[in-house]
């Protein structure tokens, strides 16, 4: 990561995917947000939590708060999926979705502790650990 990205102020923007996403059942979002506030709060400009950043109302919020001067850490679904689902929000805000402005943190299939540690790494400018390979999806009935 370049120096410019590391020196930028940082904000944490959670997307909880409605709060009942099957891939996030191991996460206590309120405990996570409070722990980030308590233990990492002095490193962040602000944090926000939205139930669906990828929907129109989430994108409206992104348009209001995304800024060229801030690097956004987005704990949300898997990083690759965030590239697709948050793309419009960044575009509407006129902020490039590049390393200087955006660090995705995958929460899919993770626990509260793991996500906290990933946010901590992101704030420190450290690379995210590689996600384990996704298990193969179940076969539909009738296929062996």
């Amino acid at each position: 990561m370049n120096e410019s990205a590391n020196s930028k102020r940082k904000a944490v923007l959670f997307c909880t995917c409605s709060g009942i996403c099957p891939s996030m059942t191991q996460i206590d979002f309120w405990a996570l947000a409070e722990r980030v506030r308590l233990e990492l709060g002095d490193q962040i400009e602000f944090m926000a939590l939205h139930p669906r950043l990828c929907e129109e109302d989430g994108e409206r919020m992104m348009r209001q708060i995304l800024s060229d001067k801030i690097q956004f850490i987005t704990p949300a679904c898997a990083e690759k999926k965030q590239e697709k689902l948050l793309r419009d929000g960044f575009a509407k805000a006129g902020v490039p979705m590049d390393k200087e402005h955006w660090i995705p943190v995958g929460m899919a299939k993770e626990t509260t502790d793991t996500v906290f540690n990933r946010i901590k790494l992101a704030l420190a400018g450290q690379p995210q650990p590689a996600s384990p390979p996704a298990p193969p999806p179940p076969k539909p009935e009738g296929q062996s």
Binding site: P22, E55, L85, P137
Partner: protein, 106 residues
């Protein structure tokens, strides 16, 4: 495991999930790459996507449809579906109200 619920409504009572037009589906997997919840699986024999886990679909989420290059994924109309949710919520509140007001067994 505790049953999942959306706004207090058990998820399996909420009829929100995608439908795939198999005549249009080309089995490209874009939907699979968009949805994190194993809603879709590829029927390899026919090279078509199928909806294997409809209740894993996040209620009112239809993002996969926007990424389908063949426009083969359909969802219920969102505005209409919000009315369905309001009705389910009303039923839930009425049920809770009647249970609260009924005499408790001694």
């Amino acid at each position: 495991m505790k049953a999942r619920a959306y706004l207090g409504i058990p998820r399996d009572l909420i009829p929100w999930s995608p439908r795939i037009d198999s005549d249009r589906c080309i089995g490209c997997g874009e939907c699979l790459n968009t949805c994190p919840n194993n809603v879709f699986v590829l029927n390899e024999a026919e090279n078509k996507m199928t909806v294997a886990n409809p209740t894993n679909c996040v209620v009112l989420c239809d993002k996969c449809a926007g990424f389908c290059p063949e426009e083969a994924i359909e969802f219920p109309n969102k505005d209409e579906f919000k009315k369905v949710l309001q009705r389910l919520l009303q039923e839930l509140r009425e049920k809770a109200g009647s249970e609260a007001s009924s005499p408790q067994p001694k």
